[in-house]
């Protein structure tokens, strides 16, 4: 019922329902946001190119096919997490459970493929389904129970971490007996491009289409711009928030499988801190933490900026401590740029 109604609204039909103006407003602000994002993407892309040029000048070892391939591979896991959580952040939410939920998904895949001896596709699907389930629970806690996303996903972060340890028996699970599993991340359908990178780009394209072309995407922006107004216009925002968190959970599951495939093992103690890197990539890519604005392209560029930066600093043998400082400063600059743009946009509105 409500879904139908939302579709009507989004189609912007000719009837003048009371909620229509709000939905139209949300769509309009989405379009304005798209303009702002265009600028942010150009900025982010410019930063990426500038970084590549700087590192290329600084070290002849940086711009080699092998190193570029390493950089792309190192972007995959964080990138996939970041793409999924872009949806959550656009709604104005946050997901702190990403990292450990990812680990739990790789543990579940490990158990299904080794202990249960399921065929490869089922084990992979099981891991992704675990991600979807975690996302659904996060969505339920946020949308139905009304918990703040920060708290709801913080507790999920701990629950997932604990469960990953319990289910694995606090031991890594090795996939050495599962033929072809590591190919998911390390095979090369396209030479020099590890499959994990294809998974990232494939998922990003899919997510980009969902965000830009489907009602789920429009609802993501609408809820982030003004959840109250969206609800008052007769849209069941709870259901959409549930769907959005579940979608992000699917990406978490994919990240879990790719991580396990790259390490050819499920490492139950891994994962803490990955959520912050993914969130940082989203922010660098120009998605606003306040919600309502953001893009998948930006997120992918943000994730690439992070991995190029870290790889370049490593090649230049900059101390690990300073690498962390530099990444922190980059996030700070990105948030500052976002604030500046927002202030300017508001200033412009008063003309």
């Amino acid at each position: 019922m409500t879904t139908q109604r939302a579709e009507d609204l989004a189609d912007a039909g000719t009837q003048s329902a009371p909620g229509e103006s709000v939905a139209a407003e949300a769509a309009r602000s989405g379009r304005f946001a798209a303009l702002g994002q265009g600028l942010q993407q150009v900025l982010a892309f410019g930063t990426l190119i500038a970084l590549i040029i700087v590192f290329t000048i600084a070290s002849p070892k940086f711009l080699t096919i092998t190193n570029l391939s390493s950089i792309l591979l190192s972007t995959a896991v964080i990138g996939i997490l970041a793409v999924g959580t872009t949806f959550v952040i656009i709604t104005g939410g946050i997901d702190l459970s990403l990292g450990t939920a990812m680990t739990l998904c790789s543990v579940v895949t490990g158990l299904l493929l080794t202990d249960a001896g399921l065929p490869l596709p089922l084990g992979v699907l099981g891991g992704i389904a675990m991600g979807a389930l975690i996302g659904l629970i996060n969505g339920f806690n946020v949308a139905v129970l009304g918990l703040p996303p920060f708290i709801a996903t913080l507790s999920m972060m701990l629950v997932a971490q604990g469960l990953a340890l319990v289910l694995s028996g606090v031991k890594p699970i090795y996939f050495t007996t599962v033929d072809g599993f590591s190919k998911i991340a390390l095979g090369e359908i396209i030479p020099k491009v590890p499959n994990a990178v294809l998974v990232l780009f494939g998922l990003a394209i899919l997510a980009g289409i969902i965000l830009r072309k489907t009602i789920l995407g429009r609802m993501t922006y609408a809820i982030g711009s003004n959840e109250e107004a969206t609800r008052l216009s007769g849209i069941n925002t709870r259901r959409w928030v549930l769907a959005i968190y579940t979608l992000a959970g699917v990406a978490t599951g994919v990240a879990g499988v790719v991580l396990a495939a790259r390490l050819n093992s499920a490492q139950p103690q891994l994962g803490v801190g990955y959520e912050l890197q993914a969130i940082a990539a989203v922010i660098i890519g120009g998605t606003s933490l306040l919600g309502g604005r953001g893009s998948i392209l930006g997120t992918v560029i943000g994730a690439l900026i992070m991995s190029v930066l870290i790889n370049g600093l490593r090649i230049l043998a900059i101390q690990t401590e300073w690498q962390t400082v530099v990444v922190g400063l980059v996030v700070l600059v990105a948030v500052f740029a976002d604030n500046l743009r927002k202030r300017r946009a508001e200033g412009g509105g008063h003309r």
Binding site: S59, K61, N67, S74, P172, Y174, T176, L263, S265, R314
Partner: protein, 327 residues
């Protein structure tokens, strides 16, 4: 003046005891005198997830059973959580066990808490990593500097005593990370002047991060002769890097630390030349044994080295090494 202070301490201690007794009513009866037959020993570890700590725990439990004492084993989720570990130590002190076994994540942050244990008359023994405090009576650990030097010795022989070497470390703060690195560097500097250590970076023992670090090091130094990983995660990161780059086994000499299924496999397949292992079960046994001795007031050496051991393809399945490999 002195007696005034003593009185204050006594009042404080009494208050703490009352509080802790209130908190855990069923313990109230047994606390207060050290004369019970069934000793209670609290171990606060640097972690519990890693296989290494599981082996320490297993060794400790074995000894506890043998000596007829009860023990608890706590540790934070990750080895960077200094703060949450201190809370566990605090909780252990408040429980008033007969002795505490402690492995310090940070050598300074623990000092005031160990003073508190002393005030509560709880003897403290340390394991794996020490605190900069005079309170603990002994420490059961692998001498990490000796272990690092052992890694350097084997690395040097394997690369014919010359060439470039880089290190993937797991911590620039905790003592095992620092000493395994320094023992390695000092040995190279002292005995092998033709070996140059070109880069040291830290991956927190994270397999993924360590793999990316090793790949960057290999990109920056294509002529690298050897890579040394200072714990299981670092070493497996290097192995993953070698596999991902498709390097021929043996082109790069990889020396690891600790053990685990992946590391044993890498050694058998020739990707890793060999690694240093410790005796974690021995550490666990030594800790419980020392804790019981400490309760009885027996004297012990300040440092009890439980040893470090080189293993490679030739001895990985031997009866000497096998029990010391933790998976």
């Amino acid at each position: 003046m002195k007696s005034y202070m003593k009185a204050t301490v006594a009042v404080l201690a009494a208050a703490v005891m009352t509080l802790s007794a209130c908190g855990r009513g069923n313990d109230a009866a047994s606390s207060g005198d050290g004369g019970k037959s069934n000793l209670d020993i609290a171990l606060v570890s640097k972690g519990f997830q890693h296989q290494f700590w599981q082996a320490v725990k297993a060794g400790a439990e074995e000894k506890a059973k043998e000596l007829g004492v009860t023990m608890t084993f706590d540790g934070p989720a990750s080895e960077t959580e200094v703060d949450s570990q201190l809370q566990m130590l605090q909780a252990a002190i408040e429980r008033k066990p007969d002795a505490i076994g402690y492995a310090a994540l940070d050598p300074e942050a623990c000092v005031p808490l160990l003073d508190q244990a002393k005030q509560g008359d709880i003897p403290v023994v340390e394991f794996d990593a020490g605190c900069n405090s005079k309170v603990p009576v002994t420490i059961c650990k692998t001498d990490s500097k000796t272990a690092g030097a052992l890694a350097a010795e084997h690395m040097a022989q394997l690369i014919n005593k010359k060439g470039k070497v880089a290190i993937v470390g797991h911590s620039q703060i905790n003592s095992t990370g620092v000493e395994r690195r320094d023992g390695f560097i000092e040995k190279m500097k002292k005995d092998y002047p033709d070996i140059q250590i070109v880069d040291i970076q830290y991956g927190d023992g994270d397999h993924l991060k360590s793999a990316d670090i090793a790949k960057a090091q290999l990109a920056a130094h294509p002529d690298l002769a050897g890579l040394y990983g200072t714990n299981e995660g670092s070493a497996i990161g290097i192995v993953n890097a070698v596999n991902e780059l498709g390097l021929q086994p043996g082109k790069l000499t990889v020396v690891g630390f600790d053990s685990g299924q992946a590391q044993i496999d890498a050694i058998k397949s020739g990707v890793m030349a060999g690694a240093i292992t410790q005796d974690p079960m021995g550490i666990g046994r030594c800790t419980i044994d020392s804790a019981v001795k400490a309760v009885k007031g027996e004297s012990m050496d300040d440092v009890q080295d439980t040893g470090s051991f080189w293993y490679d393809k030739s001895n990985v399945d031997s009866s000497d090494i096998k029990p010391k490999l933790y998976q």
